[in-house]
Symmetry: C2
Subunit: 139 residues, 2 copies
């Protein structure tokens, strides 16, 4: 999670290269004070961002070890395997942590629509009209 | 932000189709109790997820109106325009909200590396070794 820039590269802090390669236990994210990290789910084939949800430590571990994307419901206060009810599992192809280790990127092969509305992605119907003043359009 | 499944489609709640098309003010996300929403930044050309950061209302509005991705630093408690110091601006091509309107997806054309480490993406060096037990590999 980028919080400012430019930030000095931490020395001896969060790993900047493949963290924890070769360990038996999956590399642990930097969970927030609530014990959670946001997890971005991306379709490996299309590159589309499908959804964003939260993971606690057990959900993260389950995602890394079962091959099925698993999250933590803040409202129900429990883990949930995406697809357990709908059948639309998200099959884990790759897990990445960001440079601060406080965000998870899960690249998946989805069995079906990722959104509870039936849409392929939770972002499919959310286009926001933007009217840049011009600064963003020129290079 | 998906919090459970299956969730009934809300009636008269968060819009399920293009929210606020045609309004003068950008559609407002559902900010959390801290007044923030997570924002996922995706490279429009490559589809790569570049970084995840936070937005408050002014940062979101700036992102939608200036065409330059703008975030909120929780540590410094202020907005920051990505690239203002490094020159590596993220030029906004598209803004989307998810089905619950509590996550922003910003598709951008980046002027340079998105990560403060100099990496193209904050996730470039964060591959986590996963050893699915098999459930995720079969269909």
């Amino acid at each position: 999670m980028s919080t400012s820039e430019p930030a000095p590269t931490p020395t001896g802090a969060a790993p900047q290269s493949s963290p924890g390669q070769g360990r038996g236990e999956p590399v642990r994210p930097a969970f927030d004070r609530s014990g959670l990290v946001p997890a971005v789910v991306q379709d490996e084939a299309s590159g589309d961002v499908l959804m964003v949800a939260w993971m606690d430590a057990p959900a993260y571990r389950a995602t890394c070890t079962t091959g099925l994307a698993t999250f933590y419901s803040r409202s129900r206060q429990e883990q949930w395997v995406k697809g357990a009810t709908s059948g639309n599992y998200l099959r884990v192809r790759e897990v990445r942590l960001d440079c601060d280790r406080d965000t998870v990127l899960v690249r998946v092969d989805p069995d079906g629509p990722a959104c509870h509305t039936g849409a392929r992605s939770c972002f499919d119907d959310g286009l926001v009209p933007v009217e840049p003043s011009g600064a963003g359009q020129s290079r």
